[in-house]
């Protein structure tokens, strides 16, 4: 099956490409990019996708998402999560290890791989935990797990509290050559916190989760990284002060990677109080705004945007965290933490591009080439011979978020009812069309068009 | 909208004087009486009556004011709720003769509400009703004991009593829509 994606603006930061052209796919890999030409007439065995006026880029790579499978299939499964990913333009997912049971043994790694091969719509790369049972005490058999296919290690959901354990994990990571992804939170400072500590929390009477709880751990782990030269990846950085610590560590030459999320780049703690764009007001205490680390102040948000632009933060990961109604339709204090973000990530981030905060090519780089580099993954590029993982999107089309239409089981998004600009119209994995937007069926002609 | 004066200031004051005499006559004096004015305009009327009774009998007659808003039975017709205020009943009503005073009696429902309020203050020996104007159209079996003037009206007309204390002038007008 060959595919021609014609007439789109091809943006491939890995090759510094940004031009209108035709992308040819043969035998599941990218064949070549040519200048735009008129569509060929009914060639057999060719699927033609008309991408005029749209952007064509490498399939997005999410290094941070929770698929809840095994153990919490009522919230999400590998099948539903990867379908959601495809709708969001993501062709590769690194799924987090805090499943039930956690991914701390070979058997669970292999289960995930089998499920992904059988039912997955996107590529799935499992993470394994740093410590057994995520108890923060004993390291897992990282070499064995890496051999089984774990691409990185993380106790995400929880911090590694013991500095000694953290040091050993980073030292070990040098040998296994996999990143240790850390969730930065000092529980003594964050204990019981439900939202960002500050005037909004004061007004709402909610216990605060102060930025300093994140910053002390970032500082600690960067210091340990500097000494051990381990492979450190900082998950979901959310504060301006945290960005400063990271910036100075880079200036000192410490090597590590760091990420932030679409929601921390676009939302603030005021959303918990009911603030919405365009002067609208929603009811306060919407549990869809409850996330860990919490939404921070606008000053923090702006610092994160600048850091993404400058490269102080390498990449953006969604931290997709689906939950069922029973975990979210309750009091704010009782609700689970997490935002279902795969299907809104690109559109939300495009808002920053539309606003002029950074360019489209830079954004795509942070979602493709950088994640591939940080985690040593294939993909993130459209160079000839690369797997044909492609995302096609219309950067200007407006749509209103309706979580009931999500492919993800997780309908928990604060963006419900919000209008975004940017629609993923088609996604290919290995040259196969795995997602075609229901309102864009006319984009495709020729063979291989999936049934409606 | 047109207003027609049916009682001038002089007519009004004469009617009140006559009512005062009738109260004295019927009750053989003013012993054991309490005047209760129904807000809003019943209150200044009760005040005037109390002053006249005091002149006639050389005795002070206790006087109070009743806010009946909390006892009304009207269904919602408008969104606005009238402001409720405290009643002021300075003496016990038990075993006394209460003379309820209001400016206009119409359907009788306000008087019914006032009777409920009075019962919550105690058990009077009897209750009599004095009104300046009876405009007809009763919906309950309630009749005044003392009437200033009987004025037949149409349902869509309004009877407005104006008093110096509240409106700067004494008169009664019928307002046609």
């Amino acid at each position: 099956m060959d595919v021609l994606i014609r007439g789109g603006r091809i943006v491939d930061p890995s090759q510094a490409v940004d031009e209108v052209g035709d992308l040819w796919v043969r035998d599941d890999v990218v064949a070549q990019v040519t200048p735009a030409r008129p569509a060929p007439e009914g060639r057999r065995g060719l699927l033609v996708i008309d991408a005029t006026g749209q952007v064509v880029c490498p399939g997005l790579i999410d290094v941070h998402c929770h698929l809840r499978d095994p153990g919490q299939e009522e919230k999400e499964t590998i099948a539903t999560g990867t379908r959601a990913a495809a709708r969001g333009g993501f062709t590769s997912l690194c799924c987090m290890a805090n499943t039930v049971p956690p991914v701390d043994s070979r058997a669970v790694v292999e289960y995930i791989q089998r499920a992904a091969a059988a039912d997955g719509t996107a590529r799935v790369y499992p993470l394994a935990t740093v410590t057994r049972g995520m108890a923060g005490q004993e390291l897992t058999e990282m070499a064995d797990l890496a051999e089984a296919g774990a691409v990185a290690f993380s106790d995400d959901g929880k911090p590694v509290i013991d500095s000694g354990v953290m040091r050993h994990a980073l030292e070990y990571s040098r040998m296994i050559e996999r990143p240790i992804m850390v969730h930065e939170e000092d529980p003594a400072l964050s204990a019981g916190g439900l939202m960002n500590e500050g005037p909004v929390a004061t007004r709402l009477g909610l216990k605060g989760w102060p930025g300093v709880a994140e910053e002390v751990m970032i500082a600690r782990d960067l210091a340990i990284c500097a000494v051990t030269h381990g492979r450190l990846h900082l998950a979901h950085v959310t504060t301006a002060a945290g960005v400063e610590i990271i910036r100075r560590a880079r200036e000192r030459g410490v090597e590590f990677t760091a990420e932030t999320t679409p929601h921390h780049l676009t939302l603030t703690d005021e959303w918990v109080a009911g603030w919405r764009p365009n002067g609208q007001i929603a009811s306060p205490y919407d549990t869809a705004t409850k996330v860990n680390p919490p939404l921070r102040t606008d000053a923090d948000r702006e610092a994160l945007v600048a850091a993404v632009r400058d490269g102080v933060l390498d990449l953006i990961g969604t931290d997709h965290a689906p939950h069922g109604e029973v975990d979210k339709l309750c009091e704010y204090g009782a609700a689970a933490f997490g935002i279902s973000g795969l299907e809104t990530a690109l559109a939300a981030l495009l808002g920053l591009v539309h606003h002029g905060d950074f360019g489209l090519s830079l954004l795509i780089r942070r979602l493709t080439a950088e994640p591939a580099r940080a985690f040593g993954l294939p993909g993130g590029t459209l160079k000839p011979g690369a797997p044909a993982d492609v995302c096609v999107f219309d950067p200007d089309a407006s749509w209103t978020v309706d979580p009931r239409r999500f492919a993800s089981k997780g309908k928990n998004t604060p963006l419900a009812g919000v209008t975004l600009r940017g629609v993923v119209t088609a996604t290919l994995v290995g040259g196969r069309l795995v997602h075609l937007h229901e309102e864009r069926r006319s984009m495709t002609t020729g063979e291989g068009v999936p049934a409606a | 909208m047109s207003d027609r004066v049916i009682l001038t200031g002089t007519d009004l004051r004469r009617a009140l004087a006559r009512i005062a005499h009738e109260i004295v006559e019927r009750n053989h004096g003013v012993e054991g009486l309490v005047l209760l004015g129904m807000r809003t305009r019943g209150a200044p009327l009760a005040q005037r009556l109390a002053a006249t009774l005091q002149e006639l009998e050389q005795r002070a007659v206790p006087r109070g004011e009743l806010d009946i808003t909390l006892y009304r039975d009207d269904l919602a017709r408008r969104r606005l709720q009238p402001q409720i205020g405290p009643s002021d009943v300075p003496v016990s009503l038990s075993d006394r003769t209460v003379v309820l005073v209001d400016d206009v009696i119409f359907t009788g429902r306000s008087v019914r509400a006032a009777l409920d309020a009075i019962m919550d203050f105690g058990r009077p020996a009897s209750v009599q009703l004095a009104v300046l104007v009876d405009r007809g159209h009763r919906e309950l079996p309630i009749r005044p004991d003392y009437v200033g003037k009987n004025v037949p009206t149409a349902l869509d007309e309004e009877v407005k009593v104006r008093l110096e204390e509240t409106d700067g002038v004494d008169d009664v007008v019928i307002r046609r829509p």
């Binding site: 709402l204 009477g205 | 408008r78 606005l80 709720q81 206009v104």
Partner: protein, 316 residues
């Protein structure tokens, strides 16, 4: 009153607050009668849904409802709704099906009343949600102050104690600011929340923060003492209750430094000898008992305005 629910004072205009206080004045008179009962809520059902143990507030609401001739049902649910098995939303839906006209809810979690209000056709009254708000307490405090001074505008109110965990403080900040009073919050820094620069960023009214009670009490027309819970000491927020008493107890000496005619208030229940000295609690400046009576009147006013049969400008 043009609202369905009373969840917090932050969305009350000064006119609305004045309406409640004026109506409470009338209700106060009803409470002085031999028969303290009026009929406007006859046939209405008021449910007290209390997820936190409370005696005074629950009884106050119950009496308020009964004085208006309403039927009252008390539901006390201990522990979190999740422990009980039935979710808060399901509980409200059940109450709706049972015919509740008003649900008065007290809950240990901030925001709980906001979760349930959309699911009830009738009115939701917040009787205290976690550390967030206690609007009826603030209304009765405003009523008490207005009765004593004839006004609220221009007065200085010092609220002293554990501000961080206090819903009474938060609601009073809103109410007092709306009515034109100046608010000074006093307490140890570990128990003082972040109000932001000038308190404006989150839309909070401007407040003055002071750690030295002896200094700010001199400007006080009202001193409002808040309860200190013993857990604050074991939680590490206070070195000891003894130190708290020394620095922040509302005692006779400090009250003597306040402005002439100053009031001493407390939302109750009191820890006499801790946040307030026993002689001050019973002294001539104290209006604490009046607050309790005013509480019934204020809650009667609120229930009447929310659920009372609306009377039009009816015919006589």
């Amino acid at each position: 009153m043009d609202r369905k629910d009373v969840l917090d004072l932050d969305d009350f205009s000064p006119d609305e607050i004045a309406l409640v206080l004026d109506t409470a004045e009338a209700m106060r008179e009803v409470l002085s009668r031999p028969i303290r009962r009026v009929p406007p809520l006859r046939g209405k059902t008021i449910v007290n849904l209390f997820y936190e143990a409370s005696t005074r507030t629950r009884i106050s609401f119950e009496l308020a409802a009964k004085n208006l001739s309403a039927d009252v049902v008390n539901v006390s649910a201990s522990g979190s709704s999740v422990e009980k098995g039935e979710s808060l939303v399901d509980t409200i839906r059940t109450l709706q099906a049972l015919g509740a006209d008003v649900v008065v809810i007290r809950h240990p979690q901030a925001g709980a009343p906001y979760l349930v209000a959309p699911h009830l056709r009738g009115s939701v009254v917040n009787a205290g949600d976690g550390c967030h708000a206690h609007p009826t307490q603030a209304l009765l405090d405003l009523f008490t102050i207005r009765r004593k001074f004839g006004r609220i505008n221009g007065l200085t109110v010092v609220i002293v104690g554990d501000i961080l965990y206090s819903r009474v403080a938060r609601s009073n900040v809103w109410g007092l600011a709306r009515m034109g009073a100046r608010v000074i919050l006093c307490g140890p820094p570990t128990l003082m929340p972040d109000f932001g620069v000038n308190g404006h960023r989150a839309g909070l009214p401007p407040v003055e923060v002071c750690y030295d009670l002896d200094r700010c009490v001199k400007r006080a027309d009202v001193v409002m003492a808040l309860r200190i819970q013993r857990e604050r000491q074991s939680g590490g927020l206070l070195p000891s209750l003894r130190e708290y008493v020394k620095l922040y107890q509302v005692n006779a000496e400090r009250v003597g430094q306040a402005r002439p005619g100053a009031l001493v208030m407390h939302p109750g229940p009191m820890n006499e000898g801790i946040e307030i000295a026993p002689d001050v609690a019973r002294g001539s400046h104290s209006v604490i008992e009046e607050q309790v009576t005013n509480g019934v009147a204020t809650r009667m006013a609120l229930l009447y305005l929310l659920a009372g049969e609306r009377s039009g400008l009816a015919v006589a």
